[in-house]
């Protein structure tokens, strides 16, 4: 199963008012290609994708927040799963694309003994599972988008062979943050605190 194929299936399920957050590296350019508009925060550094998404679930409790994380990133701070379980946000859909390899450092622990879905269950996220085919991915994603979470879906994918080009001014750094904040300011649920 390929990560890009999964993201292509996911994009049509994400409406214009849902918020998406991605980890560094592959997830950011792939997701930009399938969902260039709307509130997207791209390329959070390792370990920060899920915590950032958790914050958004509290700011936008009536919208789904989609976290598009990866195995190497999540394992930087697996304790964030405990916080997610404890806050128990009904609107969080967390995906972890597990290709069992770092971008530049060889294989990750999930290639050997570690099972991220089991760790999430241990942390206390009851709706947690692993998918290995596009059909399973599609069904799990659809079910997660339509029901109360938090949902935690580990998608086992092959290491990414190719890269896709993405506009760096939309997927990293200050310009990306400004695009994101602009989308937040225009969001119908946005309330200015005075």
């Amino acid at each position: 199963m390929k990560r890009f194929d999964c993201l292509k299936l996911l994009a049509p399920m994400v409406d214009e008012h849902m918020l998406a957050v991605t980890s560094l590296s592959t997830n950011a350019p792939f997701w930009y290609n399938v969902r260039p508009e709307g509130p997207n925060f791209f390329a959070l550094n390792m370990g920060l994708c899920l915590p950032f998404a958790l914050g958004l679930t509290m700011a936008f409790p009536r919208r789904k927040v989609i976290s598009i994380d990866s195995d190497g990133s999540l394992m930087n701070d697996s304790s964030s799963l405990i916080t997610v379980a404890d806050v128990n946000p009904g609107n969080l859909v967390a995906f972890v694309f597990d290709n069992s390899s770092y971008a530049f450092m060889g294989s990750t622990f999930t290639a050997r003994r570690t099972d991220l879905a089991k760790m999430a269950q241990g942390a206390g996220i009851a709706k947690s599972g692993t998918v290995r085919t596009l059909e399973e991915f599609s069904a799990a994603a659809k079910q997660a988008m339509e029901s109360t979470g938090p949902h935690f879906i580990v998608a086992k994918v092959e290491p990414d062979a190719g890269r896709v080009a993405a506009d760096r001014s939309r997927t990293s750094g200050r310009p990306m943050r400004e695009w994101f904040m602009d989308a937040v300011h225009r969001h119908p649920d946005y309330q200015v605190r005075r």
């Binding site: 304790s79 799963l81 622990f109 003994r113 570690t114 241990g122 942390a123």
Partner: protein, 193 residues
Amino acid sequence: MKRYDCLKLLAPMVDKHMFTVTSLSSNTAFWSSLRLEGANFLGCNMGLCIPFALGLTAAFPDRKVIALDSDGSLMVDTSSLITVADVNPLNFVAIIFDNGSYARMGATFTTRRADLEKIAQGAGIDKTATVRSEEAFSASVKQAIDTAGPHFIVVKVEPDRERVKGDPHRTYGRAMREWFMDAVRHHPDYKGK
């Protein structure tokens, strides 16, 4: 079940050449009153007890290394369990005293949804247990010390009411580190430069 009673049962099982590492606060004060000699590294800051002990397992592969950690500390860095599972140190015994509370910040996540034993299993540590009585504690720890690990034992204890005053020269700061390094240099397995 009380943490101090468990530690009193543990102390006679730890021979003089084994290594122990403790997290801050109660574990340090209690353990320092029970094991005065030997290589003890006491008072690791939150999240650092298991990683420090893991390093010792690599340095002293023929001796058991016993980490005495606590729930609040371990949950600062549960990813360390992934590293333990991956390194797979046979001489490692991790004992987590889970009293469901921080020293000064109220209840921890383990009083609600988090299950540390299940997290460790998910990380890839097979030999795990959760014990709730002194009999189960004794049996589980004895078995862990006598067999190849890594072992991960969660001990459900009540919040500590009593305090033991540890000697600050033996439990804290540079003086503690010097005691520890002295014990390491005198250890029969130590290979100095």
